[in-house]
Symmetry: D2
Subunit: 298 residues, 4 copies
């Protein structure tokens, strides 16, 4: 996304008193914005980067099929959870270490950098051996000791907004990581909790221009969690690009009906491919690029 015209802002327009606490992540610290290079994929620049894959790694076949499909459709990174945060202790909790090994195999196969979630400080070392990007989920956004640990790590962090976190709290969480020494942070809007019940969350696209103004960090959008309905994902993905997001995080599953988690919000590969084609046109309309399915596929 292009840099906002900061000179134009009034002082009276500065919305967030905590801005003086945003010493490192605040836009003034790097007015031109941050572009991260993740194993050759550049995020925060002129390309809309799509990260896609299953909610959870469920097995080799499921993962490989999905990974190849999202790569063929133009995804630039692979997402997949090995450690899953589930509201109920009786739900599927992920394949854990085994899941990480499968993810590594999928990376070998596809060349896509891996994004996977960390739930606890003690998992960081292990996950760093496999992942290219450490995802911090909504429920962990204010796990401050873990944020401090992530500050010491040599891997980029994908930080998701807490489901009831303000923009200010979101940026302060990123400040924790950067204060520790890790400058490679991607912010992710994933929907907030409101009174509306027809969607799983309320995707807050207002947050994108607000974040882009207040921070220099790349900002992406997760329309899968943001809506909870697969059939809404393509339209909200278009909106996310139109509003200025630097990328998307999208759940794709070969057989959503059989998914062990988040089936209702996962796209089938064919629908994902169709969406990717449609997104290119929207990206172009706002002056952004997107990887061409064919080129990537070759």
């Amino acid at each position: 996304m292009s840099v906002p015209e900061i000179g134009e802002f009034d002082i009276s327009d500065l919305l967030i008193p905590a801005q003086r606490s945003l010493k490192l992540v605040g836009r003034p610290a790097r007015p031109q914005g941050t572009v991260l290079d993740i194993s050759g994929v550049r995020i925060g620049g002129t390309e809309v980067v799509v990260i896609a894959g299953p909610c959870a790694v469920e097995g080799e076949k499921q993962l490989m099929a999905t990974a190849k499909a999202v790569r063929a459709a133009g995804a630039r990174m692979l997402r997949g959870g090995a450690f899953k945060p589930r509201s109920s202790p009786y739900s599927f909790q992920g394949l854990k270490h085994e899941g990480l090994k499968l993810l590594a195999r999928a990376r070998e196969e596809t060349g896509l950098p891996l994004v996977t979630e960390v739930l606890d400080s003690r998992q960081i070392d292990l996950i760093c051996q496999y992942a290219d990007v450490l995802q911090i989920g909504s429920r962990s956004m204010q796990n401050f000791p873990m944020l401090e640990e992530l500050g010491k790590v040599g891997k980029p962090v994908l930080l998701k907004r807490g489901m009831s976190s303000t923009i200010e709290e979101f940026l302060l969480a990123a400040e924790y990581v950067m204060k520790g020494g890790n400058e490679r942070i991607i912010l992710c809007e994933r929907g907030i909790r409101t009174f509306e019940t027809s969607t799983r969350n309320t995707l807050d696209l207002n947050a994108i221009p607000m974040l882009k103004r207040l921070t220099h960090l790349p900002v992406i959008v997760d329309p899968s969690h943001g809506t909870g309905h697969w059939w809404m994902v393509p339209q909200l993905a278009k909106a996310a690009i139109a509003v200025g997001a630097d990328g998307l995080l999208v759940e794709v599953h070969c057989n959503p009906e059989d998914a062990l988690s988040d089936g209702p919000q996962s796209l089938r590969p064919d629908r994902f491919r169709k969406m990717m084609l449609d997104l290119k046109a929207v990206a172009a309309a706002v002056g952004m690029e997107m990887a061409d399915p064919c080129t990537v596929h070759a």
Copy 2:
């Protein structure tokens, strides 16, 4: 927006139990969607219709200058409040009847159909003498006796979502109007009330695909109230078009600093014009048209 592929929906996917109460506004009542013709402006079809103008009519000079500017930039209807709902009884309450007369003069001058707000059942007759579209504001969405009166009126109704109304309640409010016999209703998402304080409201763009699926009525978006910040309006306007809205409702003011209401969220005419040009590209990317500033201006 194109008709959603209804045949594909599962029964299990029907989200809102009240759907059986949506006898008239429900999508099944008119699967192909509704296109309204308002003094020659068609909304709900292949054109993104932009309705623009000041929050409140403040005087002849302010209104005329703004009306001409928005018309020149491609707006298809003129908005402006004569009766203003204000939280405090000590705030400017609108020019009332005088404001309506000024609006009528602005229509003569520009040819733009008028949209203006009704606050009370007793105002309906008077406002019908001037307005082309009766706007029902967020605070009146569940003013049921007024909704019943609007059902008997020969003018289209622009119904804004209540600031804490669910999608279901929103559609049931429209059902009140249609049950009374008035089939010409435009729905407007204008932001909901959440915990986030950096924006005035949280624009709920999830609502657009959900509404387009559940009802056949046209759906537009108000990014001015939805964000509360003029500098966010162009980006959210793009997102609204990308997500499938049939139109926009935008506040424009010649001198936002001097506005008697909603200055911080009103665009200056030059910024509005710039936005309109940018929107055309996004509309094209999702298969929609927009009026060309030049043509309209001629």
Copy 3:
């Protein structure tokens, strides 16, 4: 409730910028608090006043039985809706004028002053012929033209908080009425809309001390709408008294299973009577009085 020690407050502690707009309803306008006399029932003083009755008037038998039962249990006023605001146009909308006549008959029978809801400015004259107190429901809290009309009326107004209205907006709505010349206003907290779904609303008891501090008007609590579950009503009623409310608004129905509206949150008369006995002890613990069932009954 006793007067808060205002002298003790810091200026820095004044929470609501709009307080300067609360010229008439603000506590400083009448530091000692307001006690209203409604046909002999004093509210805002040393007695906890319970207003009870059915959600809607459904017929003579239902109303009379309920009215006598609540009077026998110690209720000091009778509530009952003749005009009902319903989300769906296909739901029971109340007996309207017929309902008002039945309410008047119930007053004759029991001696209890009547509280009933007004939905529209045009109903005010009619309802004033029957009611002792005009109730303004949650959905109408910001119906400003109606608030202005209520300012000219010679009857007290019971103003319910909007379901997503801030304390500030609530007080400004009361300011509208008082600015019109009607000083007899009772405020009613009835639950706000939040993300929680196990209860119909979230009863905001924080609002009671906040309101008592900011305004001199009496403040009551509606635990029926505030919870949506009859079995929770007695406990929240106790809490409301403990937190400093001047009274309660409670739904009671002879046959909740057959109620045309709000059955799940209506108490049966025997449970209501039991609750009233329990409330006396809590009232005494916070230095308040309550009518004795026996005395009243005699």
Copy 4:
């Protein structure tokens, strides 16, 4: 609190589908309710147990003075944070290990069992050496790996509700701990995040009867965080007891003006003492006991 009359509940009244997942914490698993004995203090029975102390341990003098004062006023346990979760990395983060040592000294001095917060799985061993009860804060309620670790620990857990967690999610978090083998859990309502800004949070007292119905575990209330204003704490504390809470968690500080965190919501010792005397009357009114300041002091 007395056991709810479970036999009376309708099947149709069972609100939460997840109840079948509440195998261990669900009320049916122990219909008579759970009474925990914590170093001689019994919680969940006939006594309202007040836990009080400073938000954060700031130094020996501050802690000892506060600890003695709360004990003299009738508090049964001492709270105090050594590891503090702060939104900004530049805010005071607690005295950490040093703070734990000071807490242990305060216990020696006063005999009060200690409640202190755990932020990270890696801190559990250390904190278990000092604390009598491990507090899990709002931001950690869904730190599932930590909940699993707490299941293996021989100390009771005080689990605070997440600021945007539903009752269902709250109970499922407790289920995680109990599934691990730790049956000693106290639930704490501490206010939820809503649109209202005049209070820090919205204390959800509806949650108390709902939780007491759905689970057999003791439930307490934190009116300090629940309101954010010291002057509201006594009234909400009364309401909490009236609604059926088994205890309270209250912040007290000798010099709230100088507190390093949460000063505005901390009571001075004299006000705390006054509150405790007032609470006894409310407790008695709902059939509960409270420690007598004098007796405890002796």
